[in-house]
Subunit: 336 residues, 2 copies
DNA sequence: CTGAAAGCGCTTACAG
DNA sequence: CTGAAAGCGCTTACAG
């Protein structure tokens, strides 16, 4: 039979309330008492029953990670980070794939909250940018933290995507490229706008007029990268460099160029964003912006837990990015 | 305030025990009573408190998915399938990344079980093939289901990996290849042995002697595929085809050939295994064996839930595979 | 077919 | 600094 708090109390010669105090790091326990309790805990290998704890405390000690992201790599990284934070705070995590475009999206989340009763939520793109959901959560007074939200005012983690996008675009400019195209990300993701803005900013700073045919829509998927590249390669005066708003699309661009017999980087330079494994697994490897996704998951969860556990406000932490320059970008060899 | 079972009982004019019967689909409730209760449940939007339920029933209604797999794509697919099954049975799922090679691996799992108290476990490769862990679980009498276990006797899901590997090898033989190499998977994964056995079987049936230098160790990682390909390309008489035990390694092989200036499939045919996204995202796309991972996750969870919920024994279900032939394999153009 | 009572293992006021 | 009592919201025997 499993030890209960009562067993610990009896063997330590104290009340269950005192054991509870020790376990929950509450003040007002004599050091000697505390040590005696902890020793019995160890001896009996006592672990509090989570259900009893939740029921009595009226908290689930659970946070839910909500995602609707086509990239398994990204989701797994975030998930790993959130899990790390949860483990450190004796919380558990549940994961929830969702379709944020579905008409009953908010109702689905509501139902999930009603059933599992998480103490808080971690929101990832594009769920971070769903105003209706955020309004609903605020009204419920259910704490949440966001990862890379475009919307102001929530706690969590962010990165200066605009500046990062501008930097990698400037890198292409420095390599001598002027006809630089951009493949936009999925329209529902706030990051798409930010990265596009960074591209435009860098082009403007370089004094290059962005032709409208250089900016093509994408959807963050490999297939959309293939389609965009084909469209760009078919232009009368095709670009000498393409900056895709994520690595999956950059991989699609590379695939399409290989399929068309173009060489990267000789005929075309290609840059991505995110530094997911795919960027290293295509040939040539893609120059990209490293986003510390795992850290971002952990940090977002940490901010959420601060709020849940200690009632602190929590903050929006900005993490640094780094450029990863690889073989897919090189000096412009075609015309000036 | 949230509705409790007592509120439902009062408004329906029955006892809480009767409400409990209806909610848990127990027998011995008059149809009319049952309908009255369900109507009040709807009206009050009543959801049982999971903690109270778990505490009273002495079950967590939780299953844990244990993994130690380098492929995010694979894990996400399995996870999605398990989640589907859990949702259908009002169970929740927790995920647990582990290091199955760590010396304290069994202790870690034991601690996890002690803290979270799952009603059952889903094991994925290579955790499926850890005899010490399985023995421990059997002793604890904690139900588990396996995905692709090499070890006999557990419930869950499997695929005839040996036959699948033989089939894709035979495909290469039919294309005229005779110098066919194999890159083995990670030694801790049971699937590695099975796939190697399939390769050997097909080669034997084709009457081809497998030279020892054709069979090179790998680790299921992209990098190990690159290394293996370089080793094979350096042979005096290099193979005309390489069958890698998974897609990540096949992608690595393709990368290494491109890097060395070889053309696929003209200079070398390449085949993989799993049909993960990477197989379609490298150029040329890789011929591979489709493994229905998501279905496998769902089926394994379903067998586990049968056992947990209804005390049924559960079974080991075998799922079908399909060959996905793409552009990385072609007729042998080099010598006969 | 239905219900009253006890109990699951914790935490929460409250008292001292 | 410590404890006795009540209660969280369900299910489990048990009785009828």
């Amino acid at each position: 039979m499993r030890a209960r708090i009562e067993d610990v109390a009896r063997q330590a010669g104290v009340s269950t309330k005192t054991v509870s105090r020790v376990l929950n790091h509450e003040p007002n326990v004599r050091e000697q008492t505390r040590e005696r309790v902890l020793e019995v805990v160890r001896k009996l290998d006592y672990r509090p029953n989570p259900s009893a704890r939740s029921l009595a405390a009226n908290r689930s000690f659970l946070i839910a990670l909500l995602y609707d992201n086509p990239s398994p790599n990204y989701v797994m990284e975030i998930q790993g980070g959130v899990l790390e934070a949860c483990d450190a705070h004796q919380f558990s995590m549940m994961v929830r794939p969702l379709d944020s475009q579905a008409p009953d999206f908010v109702a689905t989340v509501q139902s999930l909250i009603g059933q599992q009763r998480p103490d808080g939520l971690i929101l990832t793109p594009p769920i971070t940018d769903h105003p209706e959901l955020l309004a609903h959560l605020d009204q419920l007074d259910l704490p949440y933290a966001t990862v890379s939200s475009r919307i102001q005012g929530s706690i969590g983690v962010t990165m200066d995507e605009t500046r990062a996008a501008a930097e990698i675009t400037s890198h292409l400019v420095r390599l001598g490229h002027r006809r630089i195209a951009h493949v936009i990300g999925h329209p529902a993701h706030g990051g798409s706008e930010l990265r596009l803005a960074g591209y435009r900013k860098a082009m403007a700073e370089a004094g290059i007029d962005v032709r409208s045919e250089w900016v093509v829509p994408g959807a963050f998927s490999f297939a959309s990268g293939v389609a965009a590249a084909r469209q760009l390669m078919a232009l009368d005066s095709p670009p000498t460099a393409i900056f895709a708003a994520n690595d999956d699309m950059a991989a699609g661009v590379i695939w399409a160029t290989a399929d068309a017999g173009w060489r990267v980087p000789q005929d075309l330079s290609v840059a991505g964003f995110d530094d997911t494994p795919i960027s290293r697994q295509v040939w040539p490897a893609v120059s990209t912006v490293r986003q510390p996704s795992r850290d971002m998951g952990r940090i977002a969860a940490l901010q959420l837990l601060r709020r849940i556990r200690h009632g602190e406000p929590g903050e929006l932490v900005q993490v640094p990015y780094t450029l990863q320059l690889r073989d897919s970008t090189a000096s412009c060899k075609r015309d000036a």
